[in-house]
């Protein structure tokens, strides 16, 4: 179990990590999701003891990283963003070095190394110099190093960067297999990856906590806010007139505007499909399409981590099932005209 409490990492007057708190339970695959520069790697570097936090505590299996660094580090296998490889060593030499560094008992070492190599499919590369390996294989050597000795917690910083699609699938399988007996933390800005393997997702933005839940719940929460998509035969003005008269309709945006149809996306207060149907029918504007719009994890992510603070705040508010304050009709009209 990893507990991160109120973590702050300050560089000058910029907070790379800003009061971040979360808990990773045993046996979870925990995903860090955030755009580049959100503080994912910094957080991982603090958890693994490479960097020290400005404020806050990291407690790993009951050991505080700052107070008992050796005990805490013994529980962790870490693959940093750039695999820490020595180009002048062969794969076997490197793994032997890593095994000794991790204080794996000598009798156990060979067995552990061959297991790690088998899991990462490195057997054929055992005697090659790391200098001569391709990026994908280097990444695998780094991964083999991280799982060496099978520590209880395995932390992987963007483990599939630079791998071809087949290797990506292999690594995902490996992560799933590891997850049966280990806690795995991985970071990514690739959504499909997180969606495919993670039990729980932590979304961070500019070093701050945004949301932490299962991927399914995140999607559901945003979808539950009754987003709908309409395709109306008529002009934009006519459609807007109808919408204005209706109660319980929140912000709306015009998605598409072609000849005689207009596609709108809107938030409503509860299920308003019937009212919408009759209102448009009464105005003699045929509704060609009316469907609830399910948010995908991608939408959630893109909204929650938008560079614009207002957009992100709006999305975060939706997540907490609060009415979006930033999204007034005037706002969305403006957005529609863009």
């Amino acid at each position: 179990m990893i507990e991160v409490k109120n973590l702050v990492k300050r560089y000058g007057n910029h907070n790379a990590v800003d009061h971040l708190s979360f808990t990773v339970e045993d046996g979870q695959v925990f995903g860090f999701l955030g755009p580049n520069g959100a503080g994912k790697s910094t957080t991982m570097n603090i958890i693994t003891g490479y960097l020290a936090a400005t404020e806050g505590d990291v407690i790993i299996e009951g050991h505080n990283v700052l107070e008992e660094p050796e005990a805490a580090k013994r529980c962790i296998g870490y693959l940093p963003e750039l695999p820490p490889l020595y180009p002048d060593m062969t794969v076997t030499e490197y793994l032997q070095f890593a095994a000794e560094l991790k204080e794996i008992p000598k009798a156990n070492r060979e067995n552990q190394i061959s297991q790690a190599m088998a899991l990462t499919h490195l057997e054929d590369m055992a005697t090659r110099l790391i200098r001569n390996l391709s990026k994908g294989y280097r990444q695998r050597v780094g991964l083999a190093q991280a799982i060496l000795g099978f520590p209880r917690i395995i932390i992987l910083d963007e483990p599939t960067v630079g791998l071809d699609p087949k290797q990506v699938v292999e690594i995902r399988d490996l992560i799933r297999r590891l997850a049966k007996e280990h806690t795995v933390i991985l970071s990514s800005h690739i959504l499909s990856e997180i969606r495919a393997v993670c039990d729980k997702v932590l979304i961070i933005r500019k070093g701050r906590f945004v949301a932490c839940d299962t991927p399914e719940d995140l999607e559901e929460q945003l979808s539950a806010s009754d987003r709908m998509e309409l395709l109306v035969k008529g002009t934009q003005e006519e459609a807007e007139q109808v919408l204005r008269k209706l109660s319980g309709i929140g912000a709306y945006t015009v998605l598409e505007h072609t000849g005689d149809t207009v596609r709108l996306s809107l938030h409503s207060d509860g299920d308003r499909r019937e009212e919408l149907f009759f209102a448009f029918a009464g105005a003699k504007l045929p509704l060609l399409e009316l469907r609830p719009r399910l948010a995908t994890l991608e939408d959630v992510f893109l909204d929650l981590t938008d560079d614009d603070d207002a957009v992100a705040a709006k999305a975060a508010a939706l997540l907490k099932n609060e009415p979006a304050k930033a999204g007034t009709k005037e706002d969305s009209d403006h957005a529609g005209n863009l």
Binding site: Y11, N45, T48, G49, Y50, L51, A52, T54, P69, E70, K73, R74, I76, Y78, P80, L82, P84, L85, Y86, P87, D88, M89, E93, F97, A98, E100, L101, K102, E103, Q145
Partner: protein
């Protein structure tokens, strides 16, 4: 520590660095041995050794520039510092690996007094004492190189920085003799040194209270002592700095043939101090 030590030693011999270091050092010791002892018939091998001291300035940077700077540059320090190994273990592992590489030419040079013995009178005790001092002096310089390498990410800067520091160490006696010997000059010099210590303390502790405390207490003590008895400040600065001379102790061994225990202790304690500072630099970097 053992894992790091083994890897470092292997790496020095897998790359050219270790071989070049050993070859050049052995070759130069050999040349001076040849000229001083074989051709000109000096009975003390220590003369040849004291003539090759300048080699450290070139060879030590070659050995040390990579040690920490390259780890940081290629981010392999992430592996070392997130492993259960302690920071002091990392530093000591690297230091002892370099000392091992340095030990090889030193052991080869241990043959030289025996060769002299074969050809006539040899002063084995004096010569082996000098070789010990030579080895420990090398240790101080390697520790200095390690510290400088830990301060930067660039091998070139590490090499040039180490060369400059070793040059200052080499010319120390000459430089100290240029300092003023008057009492007021000593006071000013000591205050400047105090200022430098304050900078160092601030860099390590990152706490202005500690820095201010050290500065205030030191300044009051110095000025107070000066007002109380200014005559004791006469040539205090040159004497104080002169006692840090690295070549002094070596010269005691090499030319005076005295077993200078105090000098050896100076070497060992300076090495320990430099290694401690290296650990502090690595520790400190985690906080920035």
């Amino acid at each position: 520590m053992r894992a790091i030590y083994k890897r470092e030693v292997r790496s020095y011999y897998n790359t050219l660095t270790g071989w070049i270091f050993m070859a050049v050092m052995t070759a130069f010791i050999g040349v001076y041995f040849m000229v001083y002892n074989m051709l000109n018939g000096a009975a003390y091998f220590s003369y040849a050794l004291s003539a090759v001291l300048f080699l450290f300035m070139v060879l030590v940077p070659l050995l040390t520039m990579r040690s920490m700077a390259e780890e940081r540059h290629s981010k392999t320090d992430q592996l070392l510092l997130t492993s259960p190994a302690s920071i002091s273990g990392v530093v000591l592992g690297k230091f002892f690996a370099m000392m091992t590489v340095f030990l090889v030419p030193v052991l080869i040079s241990c043959l030289c007094p025996l060769i002299i013995r074969l050809n006539g009178t040899a002063f084995l005790k004096a010569d082996y004492g000098t070789i010990l001092a030579f080895f420990l002096l090398g240790g101080v310089q390697i520790a200095a190189g390690l510290l400088i390498s830990a301060l930067t990410e660039s091998q070139i800067i590490a090499a040039v920085g180490t060369f400059s520091v070793l040059l200052v160490m080499y010319l120390w006696d000459g430089l100290v003799s240029l300092l003023p010997t008057s009492a007021s000059g000593s006071l000013v010099g000591l205050l400047i040194i105090l200022l430098a210590i304050c900078f160092l303390a601030d860099a390590i502790s990152n706490n202005w209270m500690v820095t201010g405390g050290i500065g205030l207490v030191g300044a009051v003590a110095l000025v107070g002592a000066y007002i109380h008895d200014s005559s004791s400040f006469n040539s205090l600065l040159p004497n104080l700095l002169g006692s840090f001379s690295l070549t002094d102790a070596f010269t005691a061994f090499a030319t005076d043939h005295v077993f200078d225990l105090q000098g050896l202790l100076l070497y060992l304690s300076l090495t320990a101090l430099l290694l401690f500072l290296t650990c502090q630099v690595l520790q400190k970097r985690r906080w920035n």
